[in-house]
């Protein structure tokens, strides 16, 4: 075999090899979609909490159940004037009804560089979870909105409804890049300003926020969103494969520090990461924020079915 033949034979293999690292398209491949269908069947609804997706809201509208009265003003529909009350009190009052509306679910995906740290499995897992939960929501005719947030609001998928929109979700998630810094408070302030319609806000993040994860969650709380925290946990972050003298730098802020890695230090590092996770959980519990840790090594379907259901995230 000549060199030319060898190169010809080798090139296709080389091309295959170059594609060997997981292609983005495979993030939501056929297997994933099959699992989604199963998930949609077994998990009828997102949030088994206080409300149902086809619930009544406090917004007064054209529902069937009476809610309240208000004074008649010019232009109101005469059909809603409560003539009985007028007879009793001599005052024109308009009858108000509770309006039935569909649920708005916001998936807020952390797009900071720390999410793609290392192999990027944490970010992939986060996107898979986001897609799965979004599918469940879409299947139940909820309004699903996805936003990417870093040190500011990065991008958003406008509210969509219906299972048929899931490919739009896939495309959106596929195009997301984890290449920003982390400032959840700043990003979520923009988010709440842009989304007046309150609903469930599912924050999918590793919560590596130099300014403090609490601020970001509080923004959601203070603006009447119902925050759910999916805490993405990558075990490798707590067990770096390092030894000896190194100069560490933060992948987002670039802060440097010289350090000598010893076994003792690594042990303390594991403790510090565990403590940080406990700290997040304690904050969420204290503030009645639903908290679910999501290990990047756990298969997403198992996470959705077993972990989330056990924690009451799904019904």
């Amino acid at each position: 075999m000549g060199l030319f033949d060898f190169v010809k034979q080798a090139l296709p293999n080389a091309r295959r090899l170059s594609l060997a690292p997981r292609a983005r398209g495979e993030l939501f491949g056929e297997d994933f979609q099959k699992k989604l269908e199963t998930l949609a069947i077994v998990s009828r609804r997102v949030f088994s909490g206080r409300h149902r997706a086809d619930r009544r809201t406090k917004k007064k509208g054209s529902g069937v159940e009476f809610a309240d009265h208000r004074d008649y003003t010019a232009g109101d529909d005469f059909r809603f004037v409560d003539w009985g009350a007028y007879q009793r009190f001599g005052k024109l009052l308009v009858r108000l009804y509770e309006e039935e509306e569909d649920l708005s679910i916001y998936f807020i995906l952390d797009c900071s560089r720390s999410m793609a740290f290392g192999t990027g499995e944490k970010f992939d897992q986060a996107r898979r979870l986001c897609a799965a939960l979004a599918y469940v929501g879409l299947a139940n005719l909820d309004r699903v909105t996805i936003v990417g947030v870093g040190d500011e609001l990065a991008t958003r998928l406008p509210a969509t409804r219906g299972k048929g929109q899931i490919f739009k979700v896939f495309r959106f998630l596929n195009e997301l890049k984890a290449e920003r810094g982390t400032d959840l408070a700043e990003g979520l302030k923009t988010f709440v300003a842009q989304h007046k319609r309150r609903g469930l806000a599912v924050l999918i993040s590793d919560l590596y926020d130099p300014k403090g994860f609490e601020k970001g969650i509080n923004v959601l709380r203070y603006n009447k969103f119902e925050p759910y925290v999916l805490h993405m946990v990558e075990p490798g972050d707590a067990n770096p494969d390092l030894k000896g003298d190194v100069r560490i730098y933060d992948c987002e802020t670039g802060d440097e520090r010289e350090v000598t890695i010893t076994d003792e230090l690594l042990e303390r590092m594991r403790g510090a990461f565990a403590e940080y996770q406990t700290e997040v959980e304690r904050f969420c519990v204290k503030n009645q924020v639903a908290y679910f840790p999501a290990d990047s090594r756990t298969p997403f379907d198992e996470l959705v079915l077993r972990v989330f259901r056990r924690g009451g995230f799904l019904r």
Binding site: V246, E258, V259, T260
Partner: protein, 644 residues
């Protein structure tokens, strides 16, 4: 502390350069690789505790650098080869006497005794401490220092490698006296004798040093070599020409078997490079067998005898069947060398009115070229070795050579004691060692009439009657003479066998071809070899082919010979003046059994052991070890994160 290597200035320069390089490498080593982490605030929390020890960490870094600089300092200091001053640590002063006698060439220990001895000497040199000093000397027939008294092991090692065996015996007394003189006044003096002990003088040696105060403060040690082995040797070898037939010669050879079992030896005589005779002999244990070879011919100048011990071992690979298998373990004593006197015609001038007794005697030697003239003839201009003057005393020139006066007239060359002749006398006394009278019995010679001489102060009376000297030798005008105070025809001397011997002795003595010719010299002695007068130095060509300049004193070239073989003396123009042979011929040296012990005076030499060789105290070595140790500590602490 003394720096015997590089100077202090050079060391400082090297240290500066190496310290700078170390610093550069240290900085490079501290440059750490950058590693990305997902969330540094958690690291900050963990490392907050370490902040408290920041200054200590800095200090430890400096400690690491200081350790490395210390390593460099030690290495550079080692380059200076520092030595402890004698004031700090007093070392030993050792004289090593290495036996270089012929027996040390024996191969009873492999590869040879001398090589084993040199190996032991090298071990001894390597075990010297830093402050020890040593002098190495060869101990042959005369001691010879091959190194200075030094602690430089390189010089001592070179000196030990230059040691070679000689064809002589070892003179232990001179060697030990040399060592004692070298160590006089020095502290911690030691003499180490590396020897097989063969042929040393035993009790005699011990007796010579009894009560010697110089021996009191000296430690005597011995490194014995050798185990004993098979040997046969030539213990005597001489050759001479027959006086009346110089084309033929006879040889006396003595062979000795130095082993406790019988041996078969093969003796080969080689004349002028050609084999003259081959003989096989059987020798009983320790037998000494003299053997004469008569009427040999075929060699005109050199004669060599070789003895080979024929073993009973099977034929070795590469050796032809029937060829002798040599199992002799000392080859130096297997050869004897002899040089026969040069055979040339002696030119003789006979001035006589007619004397058949003289003419007949001269006919006995066919190598005489005789010219006969009468007293009235003019003296020939040709050169002569000897002139015989029968009853006359003409005025001779220097070219006429030495003179033999037979009954000369008064005054030339000697005055008569009395003008009156003396009657009926004989030789009442004569010089029995005189070369003129060798083999001649003069006691019965009767003379009817003659004269007694009146010799001068420098003259030598060879024979004397009761009435005065009648045979006198001496020198006149630079020429030797011999004079008889009577006409031989007036005596019965001419009828005796001694007459022709007397004439031929005189001619041979005058022509330097006398019967006292030394066929070979003995090695290990000072040789006085006659050379023509007028030379201050001559060139000597040794058996190995080397040319050496030799001084001439009193007409003799003086040379201390240590090797057996054939020598040639050459003049300033390269012409060969004379040649001679030298032989070991030493029965004691051929005895290969080593001596049990060495006793000098009342001291018995201690055996050198490992514990007595000492441990070498080279400071640079310890500096190097210290540098290695610190390097190991630095490495350990660095990798254990103690100093980082």
């Amino acid at each position: 502390m003394i720096l015997s290597g590089l100077s202090l200035t050079t060391l400082l320069g090297i240290f500066g350069a190496m310290a700078a390089a170390t610093l550069a490498f240290y900085i490079l080593r501290l440059r750490r690789r950058a590693v990305s982490v997902p969330f540094s605030p958690i690291w900050q929390r963990v490392l907050k505790d370490k902040e408290a020890t920041h200054w200590f960490s800095q200090l430890k870094r400096w400690l690491s650098l200081l350790l490395q600089l210390l390593i460099v300092l030690l290495l550079v200091f080692a380059l200076g080869d520092p030595r402890l001053s004698d004031k700090w640590f007093e070392g030993r002063n050792i004289v090593v006497l290495v036996d270089t006698s012929a027996s040390m060439a024996a191969s009873d220990v492999q590869p040879s005794r001398i090589e084993v001895g040199k190996k032991q000497l090298t071990d001894l040199v390597n075990s010297l401490s830093g402050t020890d000093r040593m002098l190495i000397a060869e101990m042959g027939a005369a001691p010879r220092a091959v190194s200075t008294m030094t602690s430089d092991t390189a010089e001592l090692t070179r000196a030990s490698q230059s040691i070679r065996t000689k064809d002589t015996r070892a003179d232990f007394e001179r060697g030990i006296r040399f060592a004692l003189d070298s160590l006089r006044g020095l502290p911690k003096a030691e003499i180490v004798v590396i020897s097989d002990g063969a042929a040393h003088q035993g009790d005699e040696l011990s007796a010579r040093f009894l009560g010697d105060p110089a021996l009191e403060h000296v430690t005597l040690r011995q490194l014995p070599v050798g185990s004993g082995g098979k040997n046969v040797a030539v213990t005597a070898f001489s050759v001479r020409r027959y006086p009346l037939d110089k084309s033929r010669y006879e040889v006396l050879l003595e062979v000795t078997n130095f082993q406790p079992e019988a041996a078969v030896v093969e003796i080969t005589l080689i004349g002028d490079g050609e084999t003259v005779d081959v003989t096989r002999l059987s020798l009983e244990p320790n037998e000494r067998m003299p053997r004469s070879y008569h009427d040999l011919s075929g060699a005109s100048r050199t004669l060599e005898a070789r003895v080979a011990l024929v073993g009973s071992e099977p034929v070795q690979p590469g050796v032809e069947p029937g060829a002798p298998v040599v199992v002799d373990q000392l080859s130096k004593d297997d050869s004897g060398y002899a040089l026969m006197p040069e055979r040339r015609r002696v030119r003789v001038l006979l001035v006589t009115a007619g004397n058949r007794y003289i003419e007949a005697a001269l006919l006995l030697d066919e190598y005489l070229d005789v010219t006969v003239i009468t007293p009235s003839d003019a003296l020939p201009r040709a050169e002569f070795d000897v002139s015989i003057l029968d009853g006359v005393a003409p005025e001779l020139r220097a070219s006429h050579g030495a003179r033999l006066y037979l009954n000369p007239p008064p005054g030339v060359p000697l005055a008569h004691k009395s003008p009156q002749p003396i009657l009926d006398f004989g030789f009442d006394s004569w010089d029995r060692k005189s070369p003129f009278l060798r083999w001649a019995a003069m006691g019965n010679v009767q003379v009817a009439k003659g004269f007694a001489f009146k010799p001068e102060t420098a003259d030598h009376v060879e024979g004397e009657s009761d009435q005065g000297p009648i045979l006198v030798s001496g020198k006149r005008d630079g020429q030797r003479f011999l004079a008889t105070g009577f006409d031989p025809r007036d005596s019965d001397f001419v009828l005796r066998v001694g007459w022709p011997l007397f004439l031929l002795n005189a001619i041979n003595t005058f022509a330097s071809e006398d019967t006292s010719y030394i066929s070979s010299y003995r090695t290990g002695e000072v040789w006085n070899v006659p050379v023509p007068s007028g030379l201050n130095q001559v060139s000597l060509r040794t058996p190995s082919g080397l040319e050496e300049t030799v001084p001439v004193k009193d007409g003799n070239a003086v040379y201390f010979g240590e090797y057996a073989g054939f020598y040639e003396l050459r003049g300033p123009g390269g012409e060969v003046l004379s040649a001679f042979a030298a032989n070991l011929i030493d029965a004691e040296e051929s005895q290969l059994k080593p001596a049990e012990e060495l006793v000098v005076g009342h001291k018995t030499a201690e055996k050198v052991t490992v514990s007595s060789t000492g441990v070498r105290l080279e400071v640079w070595l310890y500096l190097l070890l210290a540098a290695c140790a610190i390097s190991a500590i630095e490495w350990f602490t660095y990798h254990r994160r103690v100093t980082v």
